[in-house]
Assembly symmetry: C2
Homo-oligomer: 480 residues x 2
Amino acid sequence: SPLFSCSSCSMPTTLLGSYLHLRPRCLAYALFLSFHLSQGTRDYNPKQMAIREKVFNTIISCFKRHGAENIDTPVFELKETLTGKYGEDSKLIYDLKDQGGELLSLRYDLTVPFARYLAMNKVTNIKRYHIAKVYRRDNPAMTRGRYREFYQCDFDIAGQYDPMIPDAECLKIVHEILSELELGDFRIKVNDRRILDGMFAVCGVPDDKFRTICSTVDKLDKMSWEDVRSEMVKEKGLSEEAADQIGQYVSLQGGMDLAERLLQDAKMSQSKQACAGLTDMKQLFSYLQLFQVTDKVVFDLSLARGLDYYTGVIYEAILTQTGPEGVSVGSVAGGGRYDGLVGMFDPKGRKVPCVGVSIGIERVFSIMEQKAEASAEKVRTTETQVMVASAQKNLLEERLRLTAELWNAGIKAEVMYKKNPKLLSQLQHCEDSGIPLVAIIGEQELKDGVVKLRTVHSREEIDVSRAELVEEIKRRTSDV
Amino acid sequence: SPLFSCSSCSMPTTLLGSYLHLRPRCLAYALFLSFHLSQGTRDYNPKQMAIREKVFNTIISCFKRHGAENIDTPVFELKETLTGKYGEDSKLIYDLKDQGGELLSLRYDLTVPFARYLAMNKVTNIKRYHIAKVYRRDNPAMTRGRYREFYQCDFDIAGQYDPMIPDAECLKIVHEILSELELGDFRIKVNDRRILDGMFAVCGVPDDKFRTICSTVDKLDKMSWEDVRSEMVKEKGLSEEAADQIGQYVSLQGGMDLAERLLQDAKMSQSKQACAGLTDMKQLFSYLQLFQVTDKVVFDLSLARGLDYYTGVIYEAILTQTGPEGVSVGSVAGGGRYDGLVGMFDPKGRKVPCVGVSIGIERVFSIMEQKAEASAEKVRTTETQVMVASAQKNLLEERLRLTAELWNAGIKAEVMYKKNPKLLSQLQHCEDSGIPLVAIIGEQELKDGVVKLRTVHSREEIDVSRAELVEEIKRRTSDV
């Protein structure tokens, strides 16, 4: 039977059956499986975790700086909770098997669970962040950072407030995080669902086609205008005239000036919805000026965003560097206003206005990993301050006793799990994992009540009395 | 139709159909669903998250103190990865629906994914921790901290080392964590699968009944000896004589002395396996003495642990306080040695000896929450240092400008999203959420280039120049 190479581990596999629908079965089935992860998922090794921890710390610090609280929700929800919230993307939801009980689905994003949480707990205002994995049965493209299991870092503001103030804070947060992560230059595109809907109306799109035409416009970041126009006309049955009018608007980009210009636009100004959106857009830009972030923000009429639940301002951040000919890495953050979603979960339909942003950090991880790979600086995967070692035999018990003393004093310490390890292998471990100090004991040191403290990089050694050891280690590693 | 009260939200519900097998349907189905979480799962609100963060910090600090690296694995694995690893508990695994692709299951613990990770990446030695949610289709008992989705905090040492050194470190870690969390007194029971198997052999249990009899012995913490004996004899077909001999051994508890005594025991000493286990147990206790943790550790022959994969030492920590008449809250940590598991995933069956411990922290959360509830001290859910406020109208823009200045300087600051909020409501928010400082601006302050800095608890106010504000806030909140 023909040989294939497995896409995830490059192990040769053969086509023996159709039990695994998406992937050929291996010659040795058990062996194949034991070496595989589910498609579109990944492990994080210690080095990747160290990078991930750093990225999370940056993001969480920003969320806390803005006074956000933290919540968590289960990884699965009742299937009905997710039904009818995602439009055409609903087909990507993972369902759990019916094993006799409730019908459950893995969460698709953190926004719908948040809305369910607000309604269920009758919360009418909160500023919260939520960092967790979400699940989509999408075609994985792991080299480009697209997975079936991936993290979202969400920040949302729920509550009845004066227009555009929380919305502006969300954009400020995106600006802060992308600046601090040092990922290169970026742009934040902004638009408003009301402007899009108004535009569709004045261009002659029938009411019942708004959502589907919106989905097509959303593809403009991946498809040419010609292809988008063709999908509108041929697949979705829009008139050529309407499509061309849309084409004129979606090519527009600008700032507060563009919002002002469109408010004067003969056609656009006929739509009340569009005018409301444009007035708010002007207000938004005035707050963004106060926040000093207008350098990166562009009002872009081609931005649509696929999800059904947005009702007002929408935005998306892209990295503009990397890739040849200015091809962008893609979206790294997105969000918008969804004033109707909480009401869908409330028995009396009580609305809680919400606006939020989601940082999609898998791409950020990819970039940070590449940077770490290229850098000469080694990524440490532990924080160990000192290795307790010995050059002589039969000192295991003394090493363990000293190590426990250090642990009990709050020192991060390691000891080799061998009765008589070689000094060289103990020192080599320090070199490999970046441990800065070694506490060496021998018969003489034990007799004298001292420890030989060695600095790994300089190889310098001094005797430190046992009583002063903890303080000396703290002093020497306080800047680590 | 009859009315029931929903167990999770106490909303009245009616029995309308059997679509939901486990729970009566509500009168208004959509309404019912919108107010419900999947059975056995929970949300964490901001207060619970603040407690959770504190508990995690204690645990992670301990793991890092012991030089552990961090890894992460996907929430679902190929179904085959989990098959045949959990014995009788396999029925509790959650499967995903077959939506055309691979057959997937939610992880049941972090140990099997760890073993799969080691084999797949050919890692032969590592000390790692992994904190993540696992899933079990068990009967939830949420008031006692038993959920279908819950966190495990795992620490494991993989590698070929001298006997009992890593095993002793795992017990030292349990001791440190349970002491630092201040949950009251605790005991760590220790046993060894080889001692159990040797005991079964010398008591006349047939080889093929070892695992199933072991499962029954494991119930001794929940069932009386009479019931356990009856299950052995009536359900599992063991002879009464064998059962009674087991009964004599499993009542034994002690320390190194008990291991020594059993090594001399006429029957026990006939089993090579038991002798190997008992010799290691003596060695373990000698290391535990060096680590100064023998005060809490008991060698207990009734400890069996249900999972199939253990091969050597096993342990379980229980809280001894709370509950009347010495009834224990139950297990809060458990683990042991599993030297064969990694080999099950390796094409050549290469073994990687492993030992580890899993802290089950849902019960810990429950206890910490109750403690927080009972305490007079308020749990803060944000870290906000200062609220930017105004007593006068039309100063929104000035408030936003100052807030952005503070954010850019790394100060955690909040501002109300209203054009003209009342000073009282701004101060009230500080009282409610524990914000220690208020930066108040008015026309006069703006003219003078100052900010009125108010300390919330003392109500004291001083003017601080705009240039010195950041330093002053840092100085005043450095101990927060």
